[in-house]
């Protein structure tokens, strides 16, 4: 059946593998804006509350440090996965990405445990509300990290991410580092800023 079509000269078009990279960058920017909002709320509340931290608040420094280590291992593993992809070493790529996925899952597990043992409740005071909001956002960010790493891992297993087309592996590596950065922001706010 005859269908009208464009009759312009045809320019050369190549498939652009970096589209997903740009999508993930925009996602990261949006998350960073949300994180910045809550960080700002935390700092504003700190400026208006005396004493600081409020009475009854005990910071769980013990769990925060393992969380930091877990997030950093996940980030490094993402780069390991990329290293494997770029070298054409599929086995190393799979192990690296699987480790990223596992560590990000472990992070969420430890984070939810920390929520339980922190004895903070959003019913308690304003500090706890902001703390819970930060925790919820960090968990959501790590959940998206798991999704990104999972998709890239599946593509590596399926042979769609290779040394010739490593763009998605770059995505997983950068995003793995980004989720660790989000946790670092919260870590810095709660433990370093006094």
């Amino acid at each position: 059946m005859a269908t009208p079509q464009l009759a312009l000269t045809s320019g050369e078009r190549r498939a652009d593998p970096t589209i997903t990279v740009y999508g993930v960058i925009v996602l990261a920017i949006a998350i960073l804006m949300g994180m910045g909002t809550l960080a700002g709320a935390y700092l504003a509340m700190r400026a208006g509350t005396t004493p600081w931290p409020p009475k009854g608040v005990v910071r769980q420094q013990y769990y925060d440090n393992p969380l930091l280590v877990t997030a950093l291992i996940g980030a490094v593993a993402g780069w390991w996965g990329l290293y494997g992809v770029r070298r054409g070493d599929r086995r190393q790529a799979i192990v690296g990405l699987a480790l990223t996925l596992f560590m990000e899952g472990a992070f969420i597990n430890l984070m939810t445990y920390m929520m339980q043992v922190s004895h903070l409740s959003p019913r308690q005071d304003a500090y706890s509300v902001v703390w819970y909001a930060l925790v919820v956002l960090v968990i959501a960010t790590f959940a998206t990290g798991i999704a990104v790493a999972g998709v890239v891992l599946a593509r590596v297993v399926g042979g769609q991410v290779t040394a010739a087309e490593p763009a998605l592996a770059w995505c997983a590596a950068w995003y793995g580092s980004f989720v660790a950065l989000v946790w670092l922001i919260m870590y810095y706010l709660i433990h370093v800023v006094q």
Binding site: Q5, L6, A7, A133
Partner: protein, 560 residues
């Protein structure tokens, strides 16, 4: 001269560098990867939501004429109206137009992430339905997103309605960000060779600009909503009046998007009208680079309105907060002047969309005149500051009426591309009269009430002037009813056109009815699944003009 040729059967195998997304998951309204279908769904959803919102507004205005409306009932209606109108109408309408048109205008076959856009669409629809249904879940905890102080913290956790309302806003906001991110990446990465950012059509440029605004500000709103949800549900007291800086927090989280959001819709309206006017003027747009720059400046200035009402709260210590709001008028005024400079009456192609464009300018001028008159009334004690009914009129003329007319200008302009034939002109003309008259009366009632000293956002008018104010409320109600009538006329017109176009033979569906300059006119109407068979190469802002010049020089075999 026409720009279309017959597609040979074997051309189905033409450049397939962009993978088809219809092979793995079966196509359905929920999983479709066709940006044109998703765009149409967005437009339908926007129209359904605005009908609900406008009916609620008419009920609110009518309730002002009685003395029996409770404050709580009014607050519930106000929350429903303000949030559904500001988040579920114009943002969705322009997202729908953007989803339909951006890939076509940049010569792409698809969106960057087609199924993500479908997910965002249905997330918004579900969020909108939850928002409306929250009204049915009893009494809310608060008054809306305007002020935190009305939250009755003694009742925390008691209101499912507020939980649902906040959760629905989160879902809508996340969906809007997702859709905006998708359109932004599409415009950034899927342009045809040769189409630089400055060669993009003005509408695509404006969509890209507004997406930047949404990506940067909506997550802040989402963060604020997360705080609000935890706070009002559990009662920690972040936004409680007793908490120091609670107003700062409120304004810098919930307002950073909540306020500019209603101004940001002007940005795609400007882009769409620029394309409409340039096409029907049949002349290159005057200073197109400047127009694009001004569109981007408008987007940036939208964020200045965060301080528009801050003088009341004394939260943001800027001495002249209204100046930041008024600044937006400068780029918009300059763009209107450049439109006028582009048009030559003798060369103008008369089209209904131009009437809508004129209506857009008229409403802005009416609002600007009011803006000039208002301070003198204020000096004479007639106007009740920013808490006046006058402000409501101004908001509805500038931020609802004008962009709505611009959106319909765009729909009438691109209807031949979307439907395969133009919308009915008589019905379109009636709709134009209903909308322009409706918006004007709606605003006029509020302006007059404001000049008489009527306050805004009250359940009932009280005092010696109450009966006069009630008459003005009736005037606004008549305006609201006219707007509803105009929207229903459009729904009927669109349905009739859709049905009629399907019966038309392909030869009677012109691909380029206006001799347009942008790439969407270079394909059939409606476009095929993959939009373009061959990928055009762009060498200027007017690729189709280049093509026509080339055709005149050396006719291509097969072109009709």
């Amino acid at each position: 001269m026409t720009l279309t040729a017959t597609r040979p059967a074997e051309s189905a195998g033409a450049p397939t560098d962009e993978p088809s997304h219809g092979t793995v998951v079966p196509e359905s309204p929920f999983t479709t990867s066709d940006h044109k279908r998703i765009g149409r769904y967005y437009i339908v959803a926007a129209l359904v939501f605005v009908l609900v919102s406008t009916v609620v507004a008419v009920v609110m205005e009518i309730s002002l004429t009685s003395t029996s409306t409770s404050t709580l009932e009014y607050d519930r209606l106000f929350s429903l109206h303000s949030t559904s109108a500001s988040l579920l109408f114009l943002p969705l309408l322009f997202l729908g137009l953007g989803t339909y048109l951006v890939p076509l205008q940049i010569g792409a076959r698809r969106l960057a992430f087609p199924r993500v856009q479908a997910l965002a669409l249905w997330g918004t629809v579900v969020g909108g339905l939850l928002l409306i249904s929250s009204y049915l879940f009893g009494q809310p905890n608060g008054w809306g997103i305007a002020y935190p102080t009305a939250l009755p913290f003694a009742k925390v956790g008691a209101s499912r309605a507020t939980d649902l309302w906040v959760a629905s806003l989160v879902l809508i906001t996340v969906s809007l960000v997702t859709a905006a991110a998708n359109l932004f990446v599409t415009a950034l990465k899927l342009r045809v060779p040769g189409m630089t950012t400055m060669r993009m059509p003005a509408f695509t440029w404006s969509i890209m600009a507004v997406c930047v605004g949404i990506i940067l500000s909506a997550p802040v709103f989402a963060g604020g909503l997360l705080l609000l949800y935890l706070d009002q549900h559990f009662g920690g007291g972040v936004f409680a009046p007793a908490q120091r800086h609670s107003n700062y927090l409120w304004q810098h989280t919930l307002w950073l998007y909540g306020r500019p959001d209603v101004y940001l819709v002007i940005v795609p309206a400007l882009g769409a009208l620029t394309d409409v006017i340039a096409t029907h003027a049949r002349r290159p747009l005057l200073q197109s680079v400047v127009v694009k720059g001004l569109i981007f400046v408008t987007m940036i200035l939208c964020f200045g309105v965060i301080v528009a009402d801050s003088s009341i709260e004394k939260a943001v210590l800027i001495p002249t907060p209204t100046v930041l709001t008024l600044l937006i008028a400068i780029p918009i005024g300059l763009i209107v002047l450049l439109w006028l400079g582009t048009v030559r009456p003798k060369e103008l192609h008369p089209h209904l969309s131009l009437a809508y464009a004129a209506g857009f300018v008229l409403l802005l001028v009416a609002a600007a005149v009011n803006g000039i008159v208002a301070p003198s009334q204020h000096l004479h004690g007639g106007l009740n500051g920013a808490g006046s009914a006058w402000t409501v009129g101004q908001v509805h003329a500038v931020l609802f009426g004008a962009p709505t007319l611009a959106a319909f200008a765009a729909i009438y302009h691109w209807a031949p591309k979307i439907y395969g034939k133009g919308l009915n002109v008589v019905l379109g003309g009636l709709q134009f009269l209903c909308l322009l008259g409706g918006f004007f009366l709606m605003a006029l009632g509020q302006w007059l009430a404001g000049y008489d000293g009527a306050p805004w956002h009250v359940a009932n008018y009280t005092g010696p002037d109450a009966s006069t104010w009630a008459h003005y409320a009736i005037l606004s109600s008549v305006g609201g009813i006219l707007v509803v009538l105009g929207l229903l006329l459009f729904a009927g017109n669109a349905a009739l056109t859709w049905a009629g176009a399907r019966r038309l033979p392909e030869a009677d569906r012109p691909g380029d009815p206006y001799e347009g300059t942008t790439l969407e006119w270079a394909t059939s109407s409606p476009p095929p699944d993959d939009n373009f068979d061959t990928v055009p190469e762009v060498r200027s802002e007017d690729p189709l003009g280049d093509w026509r010049a080339q055709q005149d020089a050396e006719p291509v075999e097969g072109a009709r």
